[in-house]
């Protein structure tokens, strides 16, 4: 999903910086409050960030002979919402842009939007809707993380199609980019969803009090999940 350095012409790279900026600002504000009011959640925040580091560094072979990587930002989105996830995504994307020439500084705004904001926002909304509907927690986490991954790549395709609509128009361009990004991503999204659901299970087992403190799970649900795993 990384749009490479220089591959977004003006005004698109400026536009995506402007779109992403408010999320980063709100995210920093939320982080500040988290540090002050819910210090016990900080290790979980570190885990969410570390997950983005690990998963986004793994370039996996996928369908139709190309390689792509999962994003790992779905977990941060579920746990802390899209704004804090945007800050986590930003850190990783800067690391990759500076040290790996993977992505770029001018395309940072667009890449933060797809990987740090759009994906996690989808994960956050699915998780909220799923828990409200009383769906199975791990199935909900799986769906949220898998779709966060997939949506990230769909958004990248939209971003590129907007900047390069070609002669044939936006939708033709979108389907060309989506064929490269989104289709490739389906199996990776499934693997990512499964891995994050498993990690969520370990968090429920080891540190459920953080999840209840963040209003992610009720105490009765935690009890039910822990009994089911015993």
């Amino acid at each position: 999903m990384h749009i490479m350095e220089g591959f977004l012409p003006s005004p698109w790279w400026e536009i995506w910086f402007l779109v992403s900026l408010p999320f980063i600002v709100i995210g920093l504000y939320q982080l500040d409050r988290l540090v002050k009011e819910k210090r016990e959640a900080l290790p979980l925040l570190a885990v969410a960030g570390a997950f983005v580091f690990v998963l986004s560094s793994l370039k996996l072979p996928s369908f139709n002979g190309s390689c792509s990587h999962p994003t790992g930002t779905g977990l941060g989105g579920i746990l802390f919402g899209p704004c804090i996830a945007a800050v986590l995504g930003l850190i990783v994307l800067i690391f990759q842009a500076v040290f790996l020439a993977h992505g770029g500084i001018t395309t940072l705004g667009a890449n933060v939007f797809s990987m740090g904001i759009a994906g996690p926002a989808v994960a956050y909304l699915i998780y909220k809707a799923g828990t409200r509907a009383g769906a199975n927690t791990y199935a909900t986490v799986f769906l949220a993380a898998a779709l966060a991954d997939l949506v990230t790549y769909v958004v990248t395709s939209i971003q590129l199609a907007l900047a390069f609509p070609a002669a044939t128009g936006f939708f033709e361009a979108f389907s060309a980019f989506a064929a490269i990004f989104a289709v490739t991503q389906v199996p990776l999204a499934i693997v990512e969803g499964a891995v994050i659901a498993l990690v969520f299970k370990y968090i429920v087992q080891l540190k459920p009090e953080i999840l209840t403190r963040l209003n992610l799970l009720s105490e009765s649900t935690v009890k039910k999940l822990q009994e089911a795993a015993a």
């Binding site: 990384h2 749009i3 490479m4 350095e5 220089g6 591959f7 012409p9 003006s10 290790p43 979980l44 570190a46 885990v47 960030g49 570390a50 983005v52 580091f53 690990v54 998963l55 986004s56 560094s57 793994l58 370039k59 072979p61 996928s62 369908f63 139709n64 002979g65 190309s66 390689c67 792509s68 990783v92 690391f95 842009a97 500076v98 040290f99 790996l100 020439a101 770029g104 500084i105 001018t106 791990y138 590129l160 390069f164 070609a166 490269i180 990004f181 490739t184 199996p187 499934i190 693997v191 499964a194 891995v195 659901a197 498993l198 299970k201 370990y202 080891l206 540190k207 795993a229 015993a230």
Partner: protein, 96 residues
Amino acid sequence: MKYRMEIAVAAIIIIFAAVFLVQDAAIRASGEEAWGGADGEAAALIEASGYEPWTESFWVPPSGEIESLLFALQAAIGAVIIGYIFGYWHGSRKTA
């Protein structure tokens, strides 16, 4: 069952790997080169339309080895943090 989810995740990963091996065998048999990055493919598609990137990365890893070193480093940093915190939680639960 206690490890139902672990088994399900392992099964998904094994299927994923098996699909790769089958596809790879088919691609090799046809003599094509494959398994490049999707990011690069998108960039090639854009360049094919005549677009020239207006700026370049100011530093590029000088070789594939250095690049994979840095990617491995990125994964290692994350893995250390995850292992440390889960280990800490696990240990403090046992002694509590």
